[in-house]
């Protein structure tokens, strides 16, 4: 009798150890504790035992039954807890997006820049896309005979009288005077937007592109403040500090004017085919708003000064991602746009 109990206990332990699934544990439970189970059988056998032995044997068998029930439950729980999915899952299958949409890569960059400038308490200004010769040339200190006015690369509207010609804006800078006329100085604003030039398109030339302008106007702003604008833009785009240099440049609406170069990100300045072996890439013009521009904005140029930069976002985005054809931006081609979700 004593042997039966010990044997059953050992057999149960060994069977449980081998059970690999909750179902197997259930089968063991039926085999031991079921109506025709081994332990049930022992209990049934009690009646045939002499009464003096029955009490002790009954106690031992009941202990075994209770221990067996605990062991079965424990084994079952441990197998359930350790178990995985009921179905096989291929973890290499592509991920699903609830709603696969996205912003245009240029819009994404624009908003990154807006946020960076918002952190410097710059306002985001937006102006109209139809502008006039008065706004984009007169206010910008282009002399009446400046070749840019005569040039064929502005999209002039047809049927306009000659003294008030309107156009799709060829650059953003005219809008900065418009903004300054809306309220008193000082000013800190960025001005992103689409601009248009009548060009023959190829991989490097587009008729429609996006510029990003930043302007600060205050008293006693040294020209080195421009570095704040330049660095904010380039660090946001490239995610790390980018070495830049300022050199003399000439634009009618700034004085002094600068060409701003950044260290070539391909060769880190050592010279390569991208930077024509100079180590630097011309990235944006900038400068101090010309006194005539400030006057057009109703400001006294002896009292107010500032700094302005204007960068072509298309080119920055191309540099950032290694895009080799500017025409893709206006292609509306999802095969291209979906890469930037």
């Amino acid at each position: 009798m004593a042997d039966d109990v010990s044997e059953l206990k050992a057999a149960l332990e060994s069977a449980l150890a081998q059970a690999a699934t909750p179902d197997a544990v259930e089968q063991i439970r039926v085999a031991y504790l079921g109506r025709k189970g081994h332990i049930t059988g022992l209990l049934k056998g009690l009646g045939k035992m002499p009464p003096e032995a029955r009490k002790a044997a009954g106690q031992r068998i009941n202990e075994l039954k209770s221990a067996a029930a605990d062991a079965l439950e424990a084994r079952k729980l441990s197998l359930v807890d350790a178990g995985g999915s009921a179905v096989t899952i291929d973890v290499t299958a592509p991920g699903l997006l609830a709603a696969p949409g996205g912003l245009h890569p240029i819009t994404q960059m624009m908003y990154d820049l807006d946020d960076a400038f918002a952190a410097l308490n710059f306002e985001v200004y937006q102006g109209p896309e139809i502008t006039s010769e008065a706004s984009d040339f007169d206010n910008m200190n282009f002399p009446p005979d400046h070749p840019a006015r005569e040039s064929m690369d502005t999209y002039w509207l047809s049927g306009e009288s000659n003294d008030a010609r309107r156009c799709l804006r060829p650059h953003l800078t005219g809008g900065s005077v418009r903004r300054m006329l809306e309220g008193p100085p000082p000013y800190r604003f960025v001005y992103p937007g689409h601009v248009y030039r009548n060009e023959t398109t190829d991989a490097r030339h587009e008729r429609a592109f996006v510029q990003y302008e930043a302007l600060i106007v205050d008293r006693d702003v040294p020209f080195t403040a421009g570095r704040l604008l330049i660095d904010t833009i380039l660090q946001t785009v490239f995610g790390r500090p980018v070495k830049t240099r300022m050199r003399a440049g000439f634009f009618p609406f700034v004085e002094p004017g600068y060409e701003i170069d950044m260290e070539c990100q391909v060769c880190s300045g050592s010279g390569c085919s991208v930077c024509k072996h100079v180590g630097w890439l011309e990235v944006m013009p900038g400068g101090v708003p010309h006194p005539n521009v400030l006057r057009r904005a109703g400001l006294d140029p002896d009292e107010w000064t500032g700094f302005y930069v204007n960068v072509g976002l298309d080119r920055l985005v191309m540099m950032r991602y290694g895009i080799d054809d500017v025409r893709l931006f206006h292609s509306a081609d999802l095969r291209f746009l979906r890469q930037f979700r």
């Binding site: 306002e123 999209y155 047809s158 800190r188 020209f223 403040a225 704040l228 003399a248 081609d333 746009l337």
Partner: protein, 794 residues
């Protein structure tokens, strides 16, 4: 513009050890963009001066077998095909390893030892064209080898580059960066700039000698056109070739040698930026003048083109006829010829705008016109004359200037600028003392006076034609000479005030981000639209803004709405995708004005599903952007692109500002879309307003659990969901909400009907509903639907 370092060094004594690369860098940062530097000697590597010792015709061929003394390279036998090869001649000998361009070859060929007709040939005797020197040594014909008589004193074996002055570094300067600096359009101007940058000594240019004054050379010129006209007559001249050193310099800066006098005028122009023109004095009927062209007057220019009279074409004319287009190009008839013995030198100054107009009118963009149109100072004529006299005297001492006339109508007035010391230092962000500012400005030729913190500055004439006129210009001069990179960053100090606009994120950005979040991809299209697309989706528009010079003939109209271009984008993408969504937020040009709109398209095959999605997108934007008073209302008003049976209007403030619905079959056909359903919305944004603050309302969260049950009924298609919802919601106060679960058409559902499943949520404020209550509600919902809407339980 090409600038020779060797030439610059004639005028400025640069610091020892300065490399061309360093000059390129420094000039780029301080003054103008130097795009590159070319070492002109490199192309002549392994080409040396040699003497032909012996030349023997090879029988039955056109070849000559020569023996050449190549100095340290030895005495070499060379087979030569040229007819002018002969003993005693000095030649350019290309040794093995040299790169030459044989006649007709597009790419360089490396010279090797070779065997010609069984004769060993150890080098090549070169023609000027083969080594790129035709500009210095104009060849008699293409077959001839160079005859280097001018190098008689040079030992055989000397590298040709050093013998002819080609061991030079030539800078390529970006002309665009020179547009506002007329003073830099010559070597002396660049040298003057380098002298200031490096604080290096600058030599002065010679002055012209006194010449007998005459008043018979010039007649009065047109004052608006001509600021100064000088005429000098030289006698006893011989029209030969220019000396090698002059031809060499001209060639290195890209100018072909013509004859002594053309070369002299070019040389003076490249040296000090002053164009001039030499005439054969015996061909002229003096006096000369600069004046407008007169009707019927035509001139044949040096390049053979014919120019006719026009208000924007001014002439140089003698008493009889026009001879040249002023400031642009000389005429064919009056030029210097080999037989000329007397020269009339015109050195004048013209109005920049008129010369630009003349250049545009005639289509002739010359070295002269590109200088005059930048506005030159009249005083540089003195430097030009001085240089011309000195050069001619050195080359032909027998030539004499016999008459001179100077008609100076409007000398350039030196610009005066008054600027405060503090103005300069506050804009530089550095407290430069007066002495340092003075030093920088004086090195650039300014005369400087300072008193009580105010500078009174007189600009040199070469900076006074528009370049320098304002205090800001002075800041730039000081900053660039100090070096922009040498200024420390000074953080700007600003007063912290709130922004004039309260809302940080503008509406267009919110709308873009919400649309992208709703599963649509943003696209950029052009502001103009093709006629076909406009017909498809904007056919009712009568007025358009149009472009004077459109990108293509059928794209002159600016888009009044966004959808035409979005439909084109749908067509494009259907080539690669079946199901997708696109949107654009951008400017639209309805009639004579400009607005901002948002539009989206959803493409797929199930119009019912797509409609619910596009409607969901619109509702998502309205909620997400916290828009005030925007709602969707049914409408059957005709509209350009909408299928009237599947459409809602977007209302705001009592006005229809947009539409959402299915793109009609007609619009799809015209837009070339034949195999997909397209659901779309377009909405004007400028009228929309944000809620002043968030306006969601709070309802207490139920304390007791709610119950729900689903009901499926058969309903006629004519009964819309809105009626079902309205009938159930108002039925009993215990009914909290009715939700759409789904609809089904197909097996078991008759034509013209659908099976609609709705979920009803019920609950009480003070208790949990018992199942009898829920069952009762369920029965009443069914009963109501049956009685009021003719529904049947499924």
């Amino acid at each position: 513009m090409l600038v020779s370092l060797e030439w610059l060094k004639e005028y400025v004594d640069l610091p020892a050890g300065l490399t061309p690369e360093q000059i390129m860098h420094d000039l780029t940062l301080a003054t103008v963009e130097v795009e590159g530097v070319v070492f002109t000697g490199q192309a002549l590597d392994r080409v040396c001066v040699a003497e032909v010792l012996q030349a023997d015709k090879v029988p039955d061929t056109k070849l000559t077998l020569t023996t050449c003394d190549a100095g340290e390279h030895g005495v070499l036998s060379v087979v030569c095909g040229a007819t002018n090869v002969r003993a005693g001649l000095r030649v350019a000998l290309a040794l093995p390893g040299a790169q030459i361009y044989p006649k007709g070859a597009a790419e360089a060929v490396e010279v090797r030892e070779a065997e010609v007709r069984g004769l060993a040939s150890h080098a090549v005797i070169c023609s000027a064209g083969e080594i790129g020197l035709a500009a210095v040594f104009p060849p008699a014909d293409e077959q001839s080898i160079m005859e280097l008589d001018e190098l008689a004193g040079i030992p055989a074996g000397t590298p040709l580059a050093s013998a002819i002055g080609f061991t030079d570094a030539v800078f390529e300067i970006d002309n665009k960066s020179l547009t506002n600096r007329p003073d830099l359009w010559g070597h002396y101007g660049i040298a003057r700039e380098l002298a200031a940058i490096y604080d290096a000594p600058l030599s002065t240019l010679p002055r012209a000698p006194e010449v007998a004054a005459s008043d018979a050379l010039l007649a009065p010129s047109d004052a608006a056109l001509c600021n100064r006209f000088t005429a000098t007559v030289f006698e006893g001249v011989t029209v030969t070739g220019a000396p090698l050193a002059m031809r060499s310099r001209l060639a290195r800066v890209g100018q072909r040698s013509i004859d002594l006098f053309v070369d002299l005028t070019n040389y003076v122009m490249f040296a000090c930026g002053q164009p001039s023109h030499a005439y054969d004095a015996d061909e002229l009927d003096l006096p000369m003048c600069a004046r407008a062209s007169r009707d019927g007057e035509a001139v044949t220019l040096l390049d053979g083109s014919e120019v006719h009279a026009h208000p924007s074409v001014p002439y140089i004319a003698d008493a009889r006829r026009p001879l040249a287009v002023a400031g642009v190009m000389g005429g064919e008839a009056s030029g210097v010829t080999p037989g000329s013995r007397r020269i009339f030198l015109e050195m004048a100054n013209f109005d920049a705008r008129l010369i630009r107009a003349a250049s545009q009118r005639t289509g002739a963009r010359t070295e002269a016109s590109s200088r005059f149109e930048k506005a030159l100072d009249t005083q540089r004529i003195d430097a030009g004359l001085g240089l011309f006299h000195q050069l001619l005297a050195d080359i032909q001492p027998e030539a004499k200037a016999v008459a001179f006339q100077d008609a100076a109508a409007a000398p350039t007035v030196p610009a005066e600028v008054r600027v405060g010391h503090r103005y300069i230092t506050s804009r530089l962000g550095v407290d430069f003392p007066v002495a340092r500012i003075t030093r920088y400005l004086e090195s650039l030729g300014f005369s400087v006076q300072e008193s009580a913190g105010i500078f009174t500055l007189t600009a040199p004439t070469w900076r006074s034609t528009g370049d320098v006129s304002l205090p800001a210009d002075i800041v730039e001069e000081v900053a660039r000479l100090h070096g922009y990179d040498n200024f420390r960053f000074v953080p700007p100090q600003v007063a912290l005030t709130h922004l004039p606009r309260a809302k940080r994120v503008p509406l267009d950005r919110q709308v873009r981000e919400l649309l992208a979040g709703a599963g649509l991809q943003e696209v950029f299209t052009y502001p103009w639209a093709k006629r076909a697309q406009l017909q498809a989706a904007a056919d009712s528009w009568q007025e358009f803004m149009t472009l004077e010079m459109p990108p293509a003939p059928d794209q002159e109209r600016l888009r009044p709405v966004l959808l035409p271009n979005l439909l084109e984008a749908v067509d494009t993408n259907l080539r690669y995708f079946d199901t997708f969504g696109l949107f654009e937020v951008g400017a639209v040009y309805p009639g004579a004005g400009e607005g901002v709109a948002a539009a989206a398209v959803l493409v797929g095959d199930d119009a019912g599903h797509l409609f619910r999605r596009v409607r969901g997108v619109v509702e998502h934007v309205i909620r997400g952007a916290q828009l005030k008073g925007v709602e969707l209302r049914p409408s059957i008003e005709p509209h350009d692109w909408v299928d009237p049976s599947v459409r809602l209007d977007i209302h705001s403030g009592g006005e229809v500002i947009g539409v959402v619905g299915r793109v009609s079959n007609r619009s799809k056909r015209l837009a070339g879309i034949d195999r997909a359903e397209v659901l779309a919305f377009e909405c004007r944004l400028e009228a929309l307003q944000f809620q002043p603050t968030r306006e969601n309302s709070y309802q207490r969260v139920a304390e007791f659990p709610t119950s729900w049950f689903d009901v499926s009924v058969l309903l006629a298609d004519t009964v819309p969901w809105a009626q079902v919802e309205a009938a159930v919601v108002g039925m009993d106060s215990l009914l909290r909400e009715v939700r759409w679960v789904g609809e089904y058409r197909g097996d078991g559902v008759p034509q013209g009907a659908r099976s609609l499943t709705l979920r009803v949520i019920a609950g009480a404020e003070d208790r949990t509903l018992v199942s009898e209550e829920v069952d009762g509600l369920r029965a009443r919902v069914l009963e109501t639907l049956e009685k009021t809407l003719g529904a049947r339980q499924r």
